[in-house]
Structures are given as structure tokens and as C-alpha cells.
Point group: C2
Chain length 477, copies 2
């Protein structure tokens, strides 16, 4: 079987699984219609002049089977005060979904998430603004719908669903900070541009920096300027706003994962890319055996509850992760890998793996080159009789050298010491720092097993970390 027909077989089979049934489609569309009416009525009662529409994947018929998210947008007059935008919408949305489970969410503005007939519904405010005169980030959404809808047909919708499912399967779907990946609208534009799912993957597989897409040719003849205008690694000019990069949320690491997975899929196509096997969680003994085999030090920084919406939480968590990794490196620990995990409701962790928990007590400290006479004198004055001097000073390769006692030879001590006051001085982000001040918990190797046993989601995460390779890679021939 050739790879092409092999791909075709996989895609046909996957398509069947991700296309909503006629029954589901009818139900979702009917529910969306009813919700629009209810929101309109609630707005009228509140004397708010709102245009109410279904947007997103339900409007465009690109949602994945059994995963509909109904997005209802309230377009409010430009005269609505900014502070009122959210509160007005929330009030209307609450009334319109009375009796359903309701969760207040926050992006640029507050919005309401409700569960109606077991379907997630987002009721989101925006301004009724003109293109180029955007008043809030969500104002573009109705225009995105209007742009995409007439350009789609059944075949393209099917290709888009494949791309979304593929991205979900390999873990790069979603523009939220946690993922830093591809939005649904971005999947639609990539498919429109390339023509099909397979062609998007082929383009990704051949990726060279910079990858730029300008569907409406706004920058025709000036394509080379795009990387100067947009800083991001993937640049997809928004057809409804030539000043915006639809892929601005896509982080380099996610883009690279998509590129690598695309190559792998084209080489050995399989359904597992779309539907990865659930992680077989290692049991305690397997975990301990694996740690022993590695012979490294896995260090877990357990953070208490961080009171913030997910985007804020993950932003601060990633910043803290980078800072602490830098701290370890600056203190001579060889960091093999690191990772962040949070259940977003009270348990948040940073994981660092270093070659050794303990470094030698002594380290070599480079002094000034012999040419710099004044610096040399200062260096000698400081080190010749110092308590910290273990050996030397001596000359090596034209510079003064001294062997000194290390400040932190134990990675656990280093972290505890640096974090006990909150760690702001080593770059810990504000809300994480507050959680640290309450209590810092630094666990190493076997000590992690207790947390591991107590939280199945974390255990799944750690199992994945321990294996250390993308799930789709195990499929390789």
C-alpha cells in the first residue's frame, strides 16, 4: 500500500469519527437558535440594544463530533462604556440560561460559560465596531464568521475537522496560554490557504523560517516585510485585519511540534495521531525503577493554590519555570529537562530534572586575565586568605583561578533557600510568589511518589514526562 492511499484510508476512517451525525447537527443548531432568541429577549428586557449571533465552529459547521461549543456573541453599541461591557452581558447571559450550571469566565472581558442540555455555551460580549476601528479583541469574531462561512463547503469543512482533530491529538490545539497553539479560526485559514488537510501538513513538514501566509494578498510584493512587522514564528495575516497575526498565540515550541508530527504522519500515517492512546500510568514501583535507571535528580516544586484565571496562572507559571531553570543553570546544575503542571484548581507544580542532586563542594572560579593588573590585585586581595578559598589562587591560561567552596551544592537547598521569601529576587512571578510565601514544598525523587499516588492527573502527566517522547512518535516504523 502506498503512503498516499494509506493516508487516504486513515483520513476516511477518522472523518467518520469526527463528523457530527445529522441528529447531533440538528440538535446543536436548534439549541443554538433557541439560545439566540432567549438572549435577545433578555437583552430587550434589560433595554440593551444588542445584536445577537451564533459565532465560531457551530456557526461555520466545523465543530468536532460530540464536542460542540456554542458561542453566542452579543454585539453591543460602541457607546457602551468599557467597564459595562462585561457586566451588561453577564446579566443578560445569566437570565437567558437561568436554571443551567453557570461559570463566570474572563478573557479580555468577563463572559459567561453555561451548560445547557449538557452542551457548553459561551455567551460573550463585543462591540459592534467597524473593521479597523476595533474597540475590543472579540469584535473581530463576527467578521471572522462572515469571512469564512461563504468560502467553506462540505469538503473543506471535513478537511478543517481533520486538522483540528490532528492538532488536538498531538497537543497543539488551542490559543490559550497553557497550550500556546493553534485556534480553530487559524485551522480554517490554513486549510483555505493550502487546500486540504494533507496539504497543510506538507507545508508544515517543509517548514522554513519564516512561515508566512497572507490569504488576501494584503502584502503582495512586500512579503519580505512580514517578519519585520510581526515578531512571531508563524505569521498568518488576518483577512479581516491586515494588522493582526492570527497565529500570534502560536509559540515556537508548539509550531515545531506540529512540524515534526506532520513529517512523521506523512511518513507513517496512523489514526493514533488523531486519537492518542490514553497514557498507561506507571505504578509506584515502575516509577521508582525508572528514576533509578535514570540516575538523575527529579525535583518537584509544589506550589499551593494560585488564585487566577487559567491564562494568568499559566503565564506566571511559565515565567517562573524559566526563572528557576535559569537559577539552577547559573548555579552549575545541568538541567536535563523541566515541565509545568497545574490542575488549575489548587494544585500547581514545577518539575526540574538535573543530572545530579549534589555538585562537588568545590568549584573553579575564573579570575581576571593577567593583562588586567588592577583587577588581578583586587582578585588576589579578595581570595588569598579568604575562608571560601579551598585551593589557589593560581595561574591558568593567562588568568588567575581560585577553587572556592560552592554556595549551593544541593539543588534542593538552593531551591528552598531561594524560594522561602517568595523568590521574587530570582524571578518568580507575583501570584506564584505569594503562593510560595505560604509554603514551599521541594520534593526529590522518591519523595515525589507520595504526590504521585495522591493525584491521578499528575501521575498521568509525570508518566508522560518520564517517557519523554511525544505519543505520536511511538508509532514510528
Amino acid at each position: 500500500m502506498t503512503s498516499a492511499s494509506n493516508i487516504e484510508n486513515v483520513l476516511v476512517s477518522v472523518s467518520k469519527k469526527i463528523t457530527p451525525s445529522e441528529n447531533e447537527r440538528r440538535k446543536v443548531v436548534s439549541l443554538a437558535g433557541r439560545l439566540v432568541k432567549r438572549v435577545e429577549r433578555a437583552a430587550a428586557r434589560a433595554k440593551v440594544e444588542a445584536r445577537v449571533r451564533v459565532e465560531g465552529s457551530v456557526a461555520k459547521d466545523t465543530w468536532l463530533r460530540k464536542e460542540p461549543d456554542i458561542d453566542i456573541f452579543l454585539q453591543l453599541p460602541a457607546s457602551t462604556p468599557r467597564e459595562a461591557l462585561g457586566s451588561v452581558c453577564l446579566k443578560i447571559a445569566r437570565e437567558a440560561t437561568k436554571g443551567s450550571k453557570q461559570v463566570e469566565r474572563f478573557a479580555e472581558h468577563p463572559y459567561l460559560e453555561a451548560f445547557v442540555d449538557s452542551t457548553r455555551v459561551n455567551i460573550v460580549p463585543c462591540y459592534r465596531s467597524k473593521p479597523g476601528e476595533w474597540l475590543s479583541a472579540t469584535d473581530r469574531t463576527p467578521y471572522h464568521t462572515d469571512f469564512a462561512k461563504p468560502r467553506l463547503n462540505d469538503r473543506l469543512r471535513s478537511e478543517i475537522r481533520l486538522l483540528k482533530r490532528f492538532m488536538k491529538g498531538i497537543g497543539v490545539y488551542g490559543a490559550e496560554i497553557k497550550v500556546g497553539g493553534f485556534s480553530g479560526y487559524l485551522c480554517e485559514l490554513l486549510t483555505l490557504q493550502c487546500g486540504s488537510f494533507a496539504d497543510v501538513l506538507k507545508a508544515a513538514a517543509a517548514w522554513r523560517k519564516p512561515w508566512t501566509i497572507d490569504y488576501l494578498d494584503y502584502y503582495r510584493g512586500k512579503e519580505e516585510d512580514l517578519p519585520k512587522i510581526f515578531a512571531e514564528p508563524l505569521i498568518v495575516v488576518d483577512p479581516v485585519d491586515k494588522g493582526r497575526n492570527v497565529a500570534s498565540a502560536v509559540r515556537q515550541d508548539r509550531l515545531v511540534e506540529f512540524v515534526a508530527a506532520s513529517r512523521q504522519f506523512l511518513r507513517s500515517p496512523a489514526e493514533n495521531f488523531f486519537f492518542p492512546q490514553p497514557t498507561k500510568i506507571l505504578n509506584r514501583n515502575q516509577l521508582l525503577r525508572n528514576m533509578k535507571k535514570r540516575g538523575t535528580a527529579l525535583v518537584l516544586v509544589k506550589i499551593g493554590q494560585v488564585k487566577a484565571v487559567p491564562d494568568i496562572l499559566w503565564g506566571q507559571l511559565y515565567k517562573t519555570q524559566r526563572s528557576l531553570r535559569r537559577l539552577l543553570t547559573q548555579n552549575d546544575f545541568n538541567v536535563i529537562n523541566d515541565a509545568a503542571w497545574s490542575n488549575e484548581i489548587g494544585l500547581t507544580m514545577l518539575l526540574f530534572e538535573v543530572e545530579d542532586r549534589f555538585l562537588s563542594r568545590t568549584k573553579k572560579h575564573l579570575g581576571p586575565p593577567i593583562e588586567k593588573r588592577v583587577e588581578c590585585e583586587r582578585f588576589l586581595r579578595k581570595h588569598v586568605e579568604a575562608q571560601t578559598t579551598v585551593s589557589g589562587p593560581r595561574l591558568e591560561n593567562e588568568r588567575w583561578i581560585v577553587e572556592v567552596k560552592r554556595k549551593h551544592a544541593d539543588v534542593v537547598d538552593l531551591l528552598r533557600e531561594s524560594l522561602k521569601q517568595g523568590g521574587r529576587q530570582v524571578g518568580v512571578a507575583g501570584l506564584i510568589s505569594e503562593a510560595f510565601t505560604t509554603r514551599v514544598n521541594v520534593l526529590v525523587n522518591e519523595e515525589i511518589a507520595s504526590v504521585y499516588g495522591a493525584n491521578r492527573d499528575f501521575a498521568g502527566f509525570l508518566t508522560g514526562y518520564i517517557k519523554g517522547k511525544p505519543k505520536w512518535l511511538s508509532l514510528s516504523d
Copy 2:
């Protein structure tokens, strides 16, 4: 007391100790005269037309009290076959010093070292060649004597003695490979150029690369060409041969030591620079305590007997030291310091100090960047299912990464493994390699104590290593 008058006091005191007494001078000059006559007679009996002269420090009256070396040179006709040069000289020298202890030595040619009336005498052959038409390396020596002698006076001879004693004291005197330092003739030229001992030190203290001296102004107006003509860090054009650098034997590390010691002496002058205190050898317990305090791994490679004259032995030993240091570094061991030691008669050692004897069993191995598609495929084929793979492959910073089992996690294993066949493949020099093939002995930390106890010279060396700073530095205020 000002530093200048302080220096003056030190130099007056040292001068007294290093200037030969009238009695010593009379004895040495008389012995040298008698030896010249004896060598002349022996040459005549052998029917060799040789011009016989005293050269070196005795000829120039620059030897250090109680350390005379009488150098007698036989200038042979240019017609003498090269192979005969040494043998003819040896025969004559043996006869002339019959009854004294005799040792055959080798530089470019064989020569004889004899001990007459407890004084070391070197009887050395050379050609009677014209300047610029040198036939062997020693031909220049008589010209050096003729150049220096008429330019010296009592004051300059005294300054030269100070410089030689200073260089001996700080360990940079001697052009042999072991030291790689300053010859007596070089000391004379530096003093002639700068005017006095203190001025040589001031010039050294202000050292900037390149330091060039051209006493007879051969390169006037073309001084900038000197570093292109001569590769060495210190360039002193030979007044008797403008194509030769008198300082060609001076290695960078010795030059730098001289520079640093000169600064220190000018700042805090003391007799100890000239006459360092003998090393107080650490006892076994002190040694073990110090090793424990460092927390590093001291690894001793014990080499058997190397059959070679000192210059060859040290040349090969240093080359081997560099190669093994590179081996350790390439295998991720952090080398803190290393050293070579030999008593030149059967016991030779290399010492390496690394931060840790053991590295983590796992190491991070960098694969190709994601842009290189073909290399990426090859990397994945190699590592995905490999036995050596501990974790991954995974993506990090736009490249594939894999955590693999380390080949050598123990520095002792690494050295034993690499040296058991002689170590030629890791850059061990020929004669050292032959000694290795017989028997490699790699000792670590406490194991070194046995060798330490058995050899006092080595114990002195190791004590110095452990302290790790130049003796003259302890003098600092």
C-alpha cells in the same frame, strides 16, 4: 619604609648570599683553566683539531654562589661528520675527566657531564662555524660569551645574579622542556636591555602581548613584524643571530608566572621570592582531610619507567597530559586542575582533579535542528527504539533531544578503559604509551595515600598541588 628602599634592602641582602666568595671564584676559575688544558691535551692525543674554551656563567662570572656549572666547549672543524661530533667529543671528555663520576647526556648531540672536585662539568661539542652558517644548535654559545662578556661589569653581573636567583625561586628558570622557562643567557640579555634587576621586573609587571626585545635594533622600524616572524609569547632577538628568538623555550604559562610574581615582588618585596621556604609536607591525615574538604576526585595515573632523556620524557608527558585532559572534558568531566610529575628515574605520574568521580548515568544528547529534515529522520531512526535511550526523543528549542545512557560515568573506568591498550587512540605519546601497555595504575583519592607515603619527592609535589598557590603568593600582605 618605602617600597623602593625596602626592595633595596632585600636586594642587598640577597646579593650577599648569591655572589661567589673570592675563594670560590678563585677555585672555580682555576679548576676551569685546568680542565681546558686537560681537554686540549686529550684532543691533541686523539689528533683532533679542537679549539677548547670555557663558556656559560663561569666564563662570564655570572654563576650563583655554590652553584657553579663549568661548561667546556670543544669547537670542532666544520669538516667533522655530524655523527662523529658527539662520539669524538665523548671520547676526549672521558679521557680528560678520567677518575671522576661521568654521565653521558644528550641534547642535540651527546655530551659528557662529569663531577670534578664536587663541581658539575659539562663537556659539549660544537662546530667552529661562522655566524649565520650554524651547523648545530650549540655553535652559537661561544658567540654568546663573546657578545656578553665585554658588555658586563660588576654591577650588571650582580643584577643578573639577582634575576637568575629570583627566577629559580619562583620556578621559571631553565630552558629545558620540564620547565619551559628562562635560560641564563636570556637573563643576561633582559638585564642588559632593561638596565637592572628591578627594571626587568617592572617591564614584566607592565607586560602586554607581544613583549619584544631587539637589543641590537636589527628590526628597527619593523618591530611590528616580530610577532609575525616569531610565534612565541616572549620575543628576544639573539644579538648573534637575528633569525633566532633567545626566548623560544619560554612557555606562555611560565612567562605569565614571571609577570605575576614580578608584580607581587614590586608590591611586597621579600627574600622568600629568591629563597622559598621548603614545602612542609602534609602528613597522611592532613592529606586525607584536605581531600575530604575539597569533595572532588583526585585521580592519579601512575606510569611505569619511561626510557628517555628528560627533554623527551617531559615533552611526551606534557603531550599525554593535554590529551587525557581533553579525553576527560570530552566525556563531560569538569576538570578543575591537572599536573605532571616525574623523578626522571622510573616513577612518572599524571594527576587530574575532576569535580566528581561519578557523573549521572543519563546525559542529554543534542540532535539536529528541526530545519534539517533528513538529519532529523536519521536521528529518530537511530534513537526511538534504541537500548541506549533513557528518555525521549523530544523537541526542545527547535531541535531533537534524547536522553541517553552515558558510556563512561566513572572517571576511573574511563581512564582504565582508554589506557589499557596504551591509549594511542586518545593521544597518549609513544614512549608513555609503551609504559602504559605494561601496566596502568589509576588511583583515586585515598588510594593515592599509599604512593604518597612511599615517595617523599612526590609527597612534596602533591602537597604543593593541594595548596595550589605559588609559594611567593603566601607572602602577600
